[in-house]
């Protein structure tokens, strides 16, 4: 078997779909955030694949920025989860309906 571009992209697509499934199906907010990380990671894999395919390093630079954004998102997201857990004592995303009208 020859490892071609589309095999890497297929792995990336599968990881992304699993991440979407986690966000839509799970109700635990920690697992939802982990699934978001999975999706970001799938996008990173696609970026690196395209960088290798085209021989340019720009795709890898973008992955660096994606990692920075992911770190920021996790820090703020987990802080929000902590306050929600303090005030409502739940980790279920269905019970966090404070902003629902």
């Amino acid at each position: 078997m020859d490892v071609t571009v589309s095999r890497y992209l297929a792995v990336s697509a599968l990881l992304f779909a699993i991440g979407v499934a986690g966000v839509l199906l799970r109700r635990n907010m920690l697992v939802v955030l982990m699934s978001v990380e999975l999706m970001l990671n799938a996008a990173n894999l696609a970026f690196v694949t395209f960088a290798r395919m085209l021989g340019g390093v720009e795709g890898q630079v973008i992955v660096l920025f994606v990692m920075a954004a992911a770190a920021a998102e996790v820090a703020v997201g987990l802080a929000i989860f902590l306050i929600v857990f303090r005030t409502r004592d739940t980790t279920n995303v269905d019970e966090i309906d404070l902003m629902k009208w």
């Binding site: 078997m1 490892v3 071609t4 571009v5 589309s6 890497y8 992209l9 297929a10 792995v11 990336s12 697509a13 599968l14 990881l15 992304f16 779909a17 699993i18 979407v20 499934a21 986690g22 839509l24 199906l25 109700r27 635990n28 920690l30 697992v31 955030l33 982990m34 699934s35 990380e37 999975l38 990671n41 894999l45 696609a46 690196v48 960088a51 290798r52 395919m53 085209l54 021989g55 390093v57 720009e58 630079v61 992955v63 660096l64 920025f65 990692m67 920075a68 954004a69 770190a71 920021a72 996790v74 820090a75 703020v76 987990l78 802080a79 929000i80 989860f81 902590l82 306050i83 269905d94």
Partner: protein, 169 residues
């Protein structure tokens, strides 16, 4: 050898990603996430991105997942009674959306790559491809402004997290 490593990396990544989504205990999910991130780092290495592979291990598997584990500890979460305890209709719609996304991404990425470019590596890489030097050169020359913006973003995130979690006097 490359094929073997690719199979190892991709299969481990997919299986552990599924395990992230299906575990009842968030700690197990976080540990599976580490395995998934490490196997994606292996794929990065196979693609010649050695700097990013190291960064993936240090930043993602090292820092971000540890942050997750700390919060799991602080939240003191118990095992869930069911993995997917949403309404049946919601589950059906979610599955349909997942399938649609999977088909769409596969079609665009895989078929698109195969159809447009004969599905092969267009460029051969040199020895310096993906090293700290080549990525750093690009980062600090052409993407300097974006780099600074990213650092401001991280600073804002730190300040935001501290302000959010701080107890009111």
């Amino acid at each position: 050898m490359t094929t073997l490593l690719f199979l190892l990396g991709s299969l481990t990544a997919i299986v552990s990603a599924m395990s992230v989504v299906t575990r009842r205990n968030p700690v197990h999910s976080a540990l599976s996430l580490i395995v998934c991130l490490l196997s994606v780092a292996l794929l990065f290495l196979l693609l010649g991105a050695q700097f990013l592979a190291a960064l993936q291990v240090i930043v993602y598997a090292g820092a971000i997942v540890v942050l997750f584990l700390f919060v799991v500890m602080l939240l003191n979460v118990r095992d869930e009674t069911a993995v997917f305890h949403s309404a049946a209709a919601q589950r059906l719609v979610a599955l349909a959306v997942v399938l649609a996304v999977l088909v769409e991404v596969l079609l665009v990425a895989v078929a698109g790559a195969a159809w447009l470019r004969k599905d092969e590596w267009l460029a051969t890489t040199t020895l310096s491809f993906g090293t700290v030097q080549s990525v750093g050169r690009e980062l600090f020359a052409r993407y300097l402004f974006q780099f600074e913006v990213a650092s401001v973003l991280l600073l804002v995130a730190i300040v935001g997290a501290v302000v959010l979690v701080k107890k009111k006097q």
